[in-house]
Symmetry: C2
Subunit: 235 residues, 2 copies
């Protein structure tokens, strides 16, 4: 439908562009959790008036990335440890559901995509590039989301993945996480190709939940990140 060759010009809406820019800056940690997002500063920074800034902040607030405290301003949502666990618990379930459905609904072409994504992960891991692995990993999971044949589910999974992005990134710093992640991927791929939905479901669930089990490592990296952030604020 809207895959027409020449889109007539999407008409750039400043507010939407700003929303994506802010989203990106939050996901990549430019704006750390708890940071206050001053409207006038942002307006100056982007060379626009406060109106589109406000609209972007409201949209971000609705999707949970920022919190708007009435008459106090917008703050990057701080996610406490317990809430983070809750979110990972839900993420695990969504991904498990995707895997289960993917077993039944993936086409041959989907299988090829899955293998390609897995191969890309392997290469990034072999090259020892954590950032490359991070993105390859995202693509791998997204392939499964799409393979579920449920576009709404895929959107939900993507949205939550996005919210957890800053924290998942920290995860990969944990010793040997990349290697383990990769072998878990292998198990998942095998299960999906074999059409074993029970196995795929549980493999993906533990792949996500493993972060909960390795909780000590996880908290440790969080604490270190907080300390680094604190130092940055001090400077």
């Amino acid at each position: 439908m809207d895959a027409s060759p020449n889109t007539p010009k999407p008409a750039p809406r400043t507010a939407q562009v700003l929303r994506e820019a802010l989203e990106y800056d939050i996901a990549t940690g430019v704006f750390a959790p708890g940071t206050r997002l001053d409207e006038v500063s942002l307006a100056k920074r982007f060379n626009v008036s406060r109106t589109p800034i406000r609209e972007a902040l409201i949209a971000l607030s609705a999707s949970g990335l920022v919190e708007i405290r009435p008459r106090r301003g917008a703050f990057v949502q701080e996610i406490g440890v317990s809430r983070l666990i809750e979110m990972f618990e839900v993420m695990a379930e969504l991904e498990a559901m995707c895997a289960r459905l993917a077993c039944r609904r993936m086409t041959a072409a989907d299988h090829r995509d899955l293998l390609a994504a897995h191969e890309a992960c392997t290469q990034a891991a072999d090259a020892g590039e954590p950032d490359a692995y991070f993105y390859a990993n995202e693509t791998f999971h997204d392939t499964i989301y799409r393979g579920s044949g449920n576009s709404f589910l895929a959107e939900q999974a993507r949205a939550l993945q996005n919210r957890l992005k800053p924290y998942r990134r920290l995860q990969l710093r944990v010793r040997n996480r990349v290697g383990n992640s990769l072998s878990e991927h292998q198990t998942i791929v095998d299960a999906i190709l074999a059409g074993d939905d029970r196995k795929a479901e549980s493999a993906l669930r533990s792949h996500i939940l493993i972060q909960g089990e390795r909780f000590n490592d996880f908290v440790a990296s969080l604490v270190r990140a907080d300390a680094a952030q604190a130092r940055r604020v001090m400077a």
Copy 2:
């Protein structure tokens, strides 16, 4: 923390109030899916300027209730039949997850709440009041959400329940749906009280998915609703 006895006065933000008002009107069908939400009309209707109206619409757009087509305006999100099935599929999974966790995490007090909510459903059903049953049913499900011990999950479930509200309401018009719903509730309650997580999970999943199986009835009611809407548009 914020459970202080005397909240100092939440300071009413017009935009937030508007958002809730519009949300309610959409959920109850005052604004049917596909309806265009004109900013100036809404502004006049609520006696405010366009600014808070826009902010409310943007928030609703982010939560999926309305669609903002750039430079064309806001429309109540039209949910096609296939997407509706997808959403119910996800809803079923979220509820199943809540039930599974509730089996392990509900306290004795939660069990009492659950029984009370079930009792309220029974009374509403016996009284033959579909609307009362609808609300009692919402409370019943919400009790399970809370019982999951995962507040993020509970929020997600509530949000999706809210988006599906107009369609679930139609569901109850189907012949004998209330009676069947009630007996399914009984199965769920028994499973949760017994701590049988497998059974609770599958019972709740089918409780939601049953709407997919009864798909012919469902489409029929949708078609009738669409026809009614079409007539309204013509007039």
